[in-house]
Amino acid sequence: MIRYCKVRYSGTPQLATYQELSNFLAEVERRAYKQALFAVRDEHGALDIVQDSMLKLTEKYSAKPVEEFPMLFQRILQNTIRDYYRRQKVRSLWTTLLSSFSSHQEEEYDPLETLEVADDSNKIHRPEETLARSQVVKLIEQALKNLPARQREAFLLRYWEELDVSQTAAAMGCSEGSVKTHCSRATHAVAAFLKSKGIEP
């Protein structure tokens, strides 16, 4: 797939117009959501992260040339995911502290009430091929979720977002060597996971 940043002309950088910004966001939003979902494993949290990232890009960097958007947006997205982790950590700390004072509430908690059942009803009548592909996608997504955060981040930025090594390093705030190592480990780990499930990658 050709990403938005690659179809732009080269030469003197020009400031992004409203339409260019809109096209960029439309092009990147689904992958951004998936990235956030792999990281935080919560649909609402992932959607909030994408919304915050889009807003930050628009408010602070919309005057930048459109060629810089992919890297800037990825940097914002990764920082927003990290902020989410921090907030979750603080929240869980308070929850642990408070729950130790009110242990009786645990008795009333029924985990079945909050369990979300995957709605597969619409997939029953789909062709076999589509179902098989969906299953492969699910396995790949599961493999990505199981990766260490930095490896997943490097893999997605480098191969899915098609940033080059230096851009990936800048977005992640690490060296280019680290990016290569993370990418290599991530690719091998995903391949090994798929093999263990009987899928030849």
Binding site: L15, Q19, L25, E29, Y33, S62
Partner: protein
């Protein structure tokens, strides 16, 4: 021992599957993403980075797609400056009018002008008012 694999080729095959997965998002997720995008784009229309006054247009960043004249952005500032100049002029004129009025009163008084700067006259006035 792991067999050597073509990392890039493998990674691209994996991301093709990821693209497929991203194209099959649930309707409500797509709707939320679209709403988030619209929300972000609304912020683009607001003047955050450039100096301009409320009804003077947004100037700068947005002028290229709104077609506003650059003069429009500075019009309120010009009006404000003219207003300040007028107030200053009016205050100076008022002050001069007041002074000339006082002068006219002083000159029209029957009491000689020297009486006002004579300290003896002031003492006499105080003494006569006490009596």
């Amino acid at each position: 021992m792991n067999e050597p694999i073509n990392e890039y080729g493998l990674a691209k095959r994996i991301t093709q599957h990821l693209d497929y997965g991203a194209s099959k998002l649930d309707g409500h997720v797509q709707f939320r993403l679209q709403a988030a995008r619209q929300h972000a784009l609304e912020a683009y229309a607001k003047p955050h980075h450039h100096f301009s006054l409320a009804w003077g247009g947004h100037g700068g960043r947005n002028s290229h797609h709104r077609g506003h004249s650059p003069f429009r952005a500075w019009l309120p500032l010009a009006v404000l400056l003219l207003g300040l100049m007028f107030i200053t002029y009016w205050q100076t004129t008022e002050q001069m009018n007041d002074l000339s009025e006082i002068d006219a009163h002083l000159l029209a008084e029957e009491l000689p002008f020297h009486a006002f700067i004579d300290t003896g006259f002031d003492t006499w006035l105080k003494g006569s008012s006490e009596e």
